[in-house]
Every structure is written in structure tokens, then in C-alpha cells.
């Protein structure tokens, strides 16, 4: 039965994947092609597709694969099952780490700050370098990067507005014939 197969496929992916959405894509690709949910040509576009719609990438790819193979119910099932291991683990971990026995963990957290910052900066670097024009130097991406830092950090503009504004700018630049 397709629903049961989808459920266990994505439950497995939810268990094996850790961190940001990009870590999930190879897992989802392997499972989707192996189980025949998508052809490999359909999968080639999956990342771009998942990026175009709002929300976490792993969730978007899961719901897209689910919907393509079993309609709306398949989409719901795939997104629930990909998040279920995280939901249970988060609740358990929250309880566990607030026990007195885990006081050392809370104390040591102060030392984790630079590592958390490195994780976040890595995500940003990877997303940015994805669009780096390696063949010729282009000042536009750097200008846009600095502008978004400025508007978010110093002008305290809401992050969603910064990102949507950039998208609008991209459309305007396209209209006047400027390429990134």
C-alpha cells in the first residue's frame, strides 16, 4: 500500500537526517528513486522546487514527493512522518536535559556558543556560494549580501521582509535587463 510505504520511507529519512535541509536531500533522493516515487529527471528539479516555496527544504521535498505519488493525503503523510522522529526526540530531549543530572550540560552550553555561530555561518556561506559567479567577478551579489545584512542587523527590518524585498529587486533587475 502506497500510504504505508510513504509513511515508513519518510519516517526512516526523518530518523537518519540531522541538521539543515541540505543534509536530507541525498537521503530523500535515494529513497524516492529507489522506491519509484519519482524518476531521476523529476528529482533533478526537486531542490529548485523546494526552494521556491516557503518552509524548510526537507519538509517541502517530502510533501512534494508524497503529493506526486499519492495526492494530498500522501503529502500530509510524508511531511508528518519526516518530522515525527524530531517531534518525539525534541520532547524527550527537552525533558532529559532539564533534569538535575544534566546540569553539567547547561553549564557547558556557554562554551558551545562559538560552535553554534560556526554552524549558522556555514549555512549562510553554502547558500551564498551556491550562486557565486565563478567565471567572472560580479559586484551585484556582494552588494545585495551587504544590503541584506545592513537592513536586517542595523535597520532591524523583519527578516521575511528583507528576503521578499530582495526577491522583488531580483524581478525588477530582470525587467531592466540586469543579470546576476
Amino acid at each position: 500500500m502506497i500510504y504505508l510505504r510513504l509513511f515508513f520511507s519518510f519516517l526512516k529519512i526523518g530518523f537518519l537526517g540531522f541538521g539543515g535541509g541540505y543534509a536530507f536531500l541525498p537521503l530523500i533522493q535515494e529513497e524516492a528513486v529507489q522506491q519509484g516515487y519519482l524518476s531521476s529527471s523529476e528529482f533533478a528539479n526537486l531542490l529548485a522546487l523546494a526552494e521556491m516555496t516557503p518552509g524548510p527544504l526537507a519538509l517541502n521535498t517530502a510533501s512534494y514527493v508524497g503529493m506526486k505519488s499519492a495526492g494530498i493525503l500522501g503529502g500530509i503523510l510524508a511531511s508528518v512522518s519526516v518530522s515525527l522522529p524530531g517531534l518525539v526526540a525534541c520532547i524527550l530531549m527537552f525533558w532529559l536535559m532539564n533534569l538535575p543530572a544534566f546540569d553539567w550540560w547547561k553549564k557547558g552550553l556557554v562554551g558551545l556558543r562559538p560552535t553554534l555561530a560556526a554552524l549558522i555561518v556555514t549555512a549562510a556561506v553554502k547558500i551564498f556560494l551556491n550562486d557565486w559567479p565563478l567565471d567572472d567577478f560580479n559586484v551585484l551579489p556582494i552588494a545585495l549580501l551587504l544590503a541584506s545584512i545592513l537592513t536586517y542587523h542595523w535597520l532591524r527590518v523583519h527578516p521575511a521582509l528583507v528576503v521578499l524585498g530582495a526577491g522583488f529587486l531580483g524581478a525588477c533587475l530582470y525587467v531592466i535587463g540586469v543579470q546576476f
Binding site: 540531522f18 522546487l49 524530531g86 551564498f128 541584506s148 536586517y152
Partner: protein, 181 residues
């Protein structure tokens, strides 16, 4: 800690799910601002939740809202956080599923996505640095930051190992520092 209504929690995370382009990490700056604005927790408490979201299996972009919900309103809050963050993305894909392939072939959409990704990188970068530089930054912290950044970018270190290694390094430097004082 103020008492937060479940409906309010749902609406806040629903909005984040609807407006976060660029993947799960782009949720971090949004949640950071939300938590700051409402004074739901301290920066330390937010960092604690963020590190847990990396340690648990599953996407960070879903785990973080679950953990914020859990902290503010218990298990009901965790479930509300989960439902709220998944609702809008699922609905958008449901509506667009048959048009997405066509949309993707438009050159203007490609250009918009490039601009969106760059802005997402900028916003995530700022949020990371804001979390880092909230208090005084010590020399060992800059050393650990650089080492971890190098490892993550050049070796593709897994998130769980990163946290375990970073935590051990932090404990070591904190112990050395405590001994010297």
C-alpha cells in the same frame, strides 16, 4: 516567562512558515527576532534550544519551532509549533504542485530565486553573528569558531558531531580559564 496563548503561538509560527524562503536555517533569524520581541526567553535559553534542534533527528527548521513551543507551553505547545510550521508550506505546495514545473522554467523566477538566496545568506549570517557577539567575545571563542568553521566548510562535518566536538572544546577552554583565575 510570560504565559503565551496556544493560538498566538500557532499564528506566529504559521506566519514564519508562510514567509520563510530559502530553507530551514532561514527560520533561525525569524525565530530569534520573535523571541527577542516578545521577551519569551534569554539569549542563553534560545541557544540551548537551537543546539537541541541540531542534536535531535529531523530538520532544524521543524525542530526549533517544536522546542520553542515545548518551552513556552509544554507538550501541547510542541505539537502546536509543529502543526503551525508545517501548515503553510504544505498548503502552498498543494496549491502550486501542478504549476511548479512550468514556473521553474521562467527566467524571471530563476533571477528572483538567486536574489532571495543571497538575501537569505545575509540574514542568516547576521543572526549567527548577533548570537555570537551578544556578550563579550573571548579569544578562545574566536579560535574555536574559526576551527569549527573550517571543519564544517571543508570536511562537511555532520551536525551532531559538530555539537559534540564543539561542546568538548568549550568545556576544555572553560576549565582552563577557571584554573587560571
Amino acid at each position: 516567562m510570560p504565559k503565551v496563548g496556544l493560538v498566538r503561538l500557532f499564528l506566529d509560527f504559521f506566519f514564519i512558515g508562510l514567509t520563510t524562503l530559502g530553507g530551514g536555517y532561514a527560520i533561525v533569524p525569524q525565530v530569534l527576532r520573535l523571541v527577542e520581541k516578545n521577551r519569551w526567553m534569554t539569549h542563553e535559553e534560545f541557544q540551548q534550544l537551537f543546539s537541541m534542534s541540531q542534536l535531535a533527528p529531523g530538520p532544524v527548521g521543524i525542530n526549533l519551532p517544536i522546542l520553542v513551543g515545548r518551552k513556552l507551553r509544554g507538550i501541547a505547545g510542541a505539537i502546536v509549533g509543529f502543526l503551525a510550521i508545517t501548515f503553510a508550506p504544505l498548503a502552498v505546495i498543494f496549491v502550486l504542485v501542478s504549476w511548479l514545473d512550468t514556473l521553474m522554467e521562467w527566467e524571471v523566477v530563476r533571477q528572483i530565486m538567486v536574489a532571495v538566496r543571497i538575501a537569505v545568506a545575509g540574514v542568516i549570517l547576521s543572526a549567527g553573528m548577533e548570537m555570537f557577539a551578544k556578550n563579550q567575545v573571548r579569544v578562545w571563542e574566536i579560535v574555536v569558531f574559526s576551527v569549527m568553521l573550517g571543519l564544517l566548510i571543508f570536511t562537511g562535518l555532520n551536525a551532531v558531531f559538530t555539537i559534540i566536538l564543539g561542546f568538548s572544546l568549550g568545556l576544555f577552554f572553560l576549565a582552563v580559564l577557571a584554573k587560571r583565575e
